[in-house]
Symmetry: C2
Subunit: 392 residues, 2 copies
């Protein structure tokens, strides 16, 4: 005799179980089904594991080819990529930078590394990303143009850039945000840490702004252990990005002349070797993650009060993290569902705490964040590894 | 008929050739003769290549055991280690930090990441490191104590810390510098990037200051691809170092609460796996590098006008980079020797350009740098890989 699930939590757990089978499942784990071992061994055998080696060049070329960006610069992680992208977008000490309150802390931290202050903006439910119309209204009423700069009337500071983030792999409203950036003289830098393999109207995320950034952390769609990349179509910016991430050393057989203050952010060749192999597997992983979405969709759609986050219209998501969104009248059940799923060995997680609620950013400027506040109370990520579909 | 070397350059080239044999030699290349491949494979098989995994914990424990530091925190590179060590030593925006002019640019850059200014000090010929007596005289005449702080009279700024660097693996005069740090209320942070396996009076470098830092870059004695570590005997500082290098996230099953602005500086498990295997090989590498020093010493000692840098008295050097020091009356021949050796396929390199000669640091405060200026004109590194002695 099988117990029929009766509570909301039991129904959701049963639906997830019907997709992932029995046994425990983490939120996201990498899969190494290709040339990972081969390339790592080749890297070791060459002894070029560090700052020199062919895998870094190849990984950068492969990332550029995959995303359609003219240039990609590989770095140690997504945070470092954001730091340098913001610097190259012109962010200076004393500036403000618009970022979603609903993001991982790296976005906000990278702003502070430039000596700037994050300025938090609201998100929309359709994409989970920055709400372009709401941002436009806010900027229209709270800023003014002075000498070609967008000035925050309340603080008197220059708002230099806008950094949308493609949450859990779902592309933001880029048309709307590009228009806002243009109309309010903001540099657009895309935080595409979560959206490798996601497309907005056929074009890869991270290639719309003046610069974009990727992450290859262990929990991402593909991993280099730790790693990130800066994307840009501007050759001068790409050269400068490479220069700034490699201690700004001028090329010379033996002279160590560095022509500006810079960083040691280069991705080691060892990590790039892993990345080259992972990138070969990416199309298969994206298919598997899409398949996983379909299976979850089928299993969850009969349950009232919850929906699975689907790619926005006109977009192709990488479905990095599958996301349940509870209806407002089921929000109160979210924490019980987190408990029930984790207790059942199904790892689930709410979204991040909104940035303006962290001690470090409590005093940062922000607009009304009603939608972000509603989203974080109703949302949770469920097991999303590509292997969950590949192995079934 | 063999041509007998007649010029100074020819004599030196012949002496180096007698040690390293025919064929070309780079300055320093890693050797992977142990469990490197095994551990990398184990890491890949576990799928824990990134921010979680047992190799990071093991590498930190192994580094602590090897150096005798109570705690070691593994990070992405030596620059990141220095940045966090300086921060934890209390370096704040507007401070000055005493560092040798004769160092790699990372030392100076890390100071700027804290919003502080490097203040350049001179080196001594015996150790190639900071000249303690000269620094003492300089501080006595150029600073004053105010409210427990060392104040630079010329700038009015607090000189917060002293960061000696153990050049090419040779320990600095730590007794002298610890006394200076004590007497002038400076935090002592050791940049031991180059001195893993070097000891001052039997104690490992990097363990004398409040914090010390290591590097495992590809050109170092052992490598993790890219990597570094923070050493300290202070448990609270070690905990804070781990916290600051891992986005300051508070432990929780699913909540993302970060309690301060922090960094993504953690060493990936993949790189730590390589490090664990390399560390097992370190004693053999150190023996080989010492053997290489002996062979070079024998070959070069008959040549007038040049000497091989030997470990300072009471110290044990790792002989990371073997160093030729020309007598002042031979300084003019240094560049010809660089040309001759590199043309012969023997990679050699002068030291770095002194920090105060880089555009970014031209305006930084500095003391008289006569010895450093003399050293960089007379010095060059010669092929130093442990494999050069192991393979003979």
């Amino acid at each position: 005799m099988v117990n029929r699930p009766v509570t909301f939590s039991e129904q959701v757990v049963a639906a997830i179980r019907s997709v992932i089978g029995s046994g425990s499942a983490v939120l996201h784990e990498p899969s190494f089904n290709g040339n990972e071992w081969l390339y790592l061994k080749e890297c070791l055998d060459s002894t070029f594991v560090s700052s020199v080696g062919k895998f870094v060049d190849r990984f950068e070329a492969d990332i550029a080819a995959f995303t359609g960006a003219k240039h990609a610069v590989a770095v140690v992680n997504g945070t470092a990529a954001l730091h340098i992208a913001l610097k190259l977008a012109g962010v200076q000490a004393g500036d403000e930078v618009l970022i979603p309150a609903f993001t991982f802390v790296a976005t906000a931290n990278a702003v502070t590394y430039c000596g700037a202050t994050p300025h938090f903006v609201d998100s929309e439910e359709q994409t989970l990303g920055v709400d372009a119309p709401k941002l436009r209204d806010y900027l229209a009423s709270h800023t003014e143009q002075r000498a070609g700069n967008c000035i925050n009337r309340a603080t008197g500071k220059i708002i230099r850039a806008l950094v949308p983030m493609h949450t859990f792999g779902h592309p933001v409203d880029l048309d709307g945000l590009m228009a806002v950036a243009h109309d309010f003289t903001l540099a657009l830098v895309e935080d595409a840490a979560e959206s490798l393999g996601s497309y907005y109207h056929g074009r890869h995320t991270g290639t719309f702004g003046v610069l974009g950034t990727l992450s290859f952390n262990g929990n991402k769609t593909i991993t280099t252990g730790g790693g990130g990349a800066i994307l840009t179509d501007d050759e001068a910016l790409a050269r400068h990005a490479k220069h700034l991430t490699t201690t700004a050393k001028l090329p010379h057989a033996w002279e160590y002349r560095h022509d500006e203050i810079a960083y040691n952010y280069r991705m080691p060749n060892l990590n790039a070797a892993l990345g080259c192999a992972q990138l070969e597997q990416l199309p298969a992983m994206l298919r598997a993650k899409r398949e996983l979405f379909q299976r979850y969709q089928t299993a969850l759609s009969p349950i009232p009060g919850v929906r699975l986050m689907a790619e926005p219209e006109g977009c192709q998501s990488n479905y990095w993290l599958q996301t349940l969104l509870l209806d407002p009248d089921h929000a109160a059940e979210r924490d019980a569902l987190l408990q029930a799923t984790n207790a059942a060995g199904i790892m689930t997680r709410p979204a991040w705490i909104l940035m303006h609620e962290l001690a470090a950013f409590r005093e940062s400027p922000r607009m009304d964040l009603a939608t972000a506040q509603s989203l974080v109370q109703r949302l949770m990520n469920i097991p999303s590894s590509s292997g969950l579909a590949q192995n079934v």
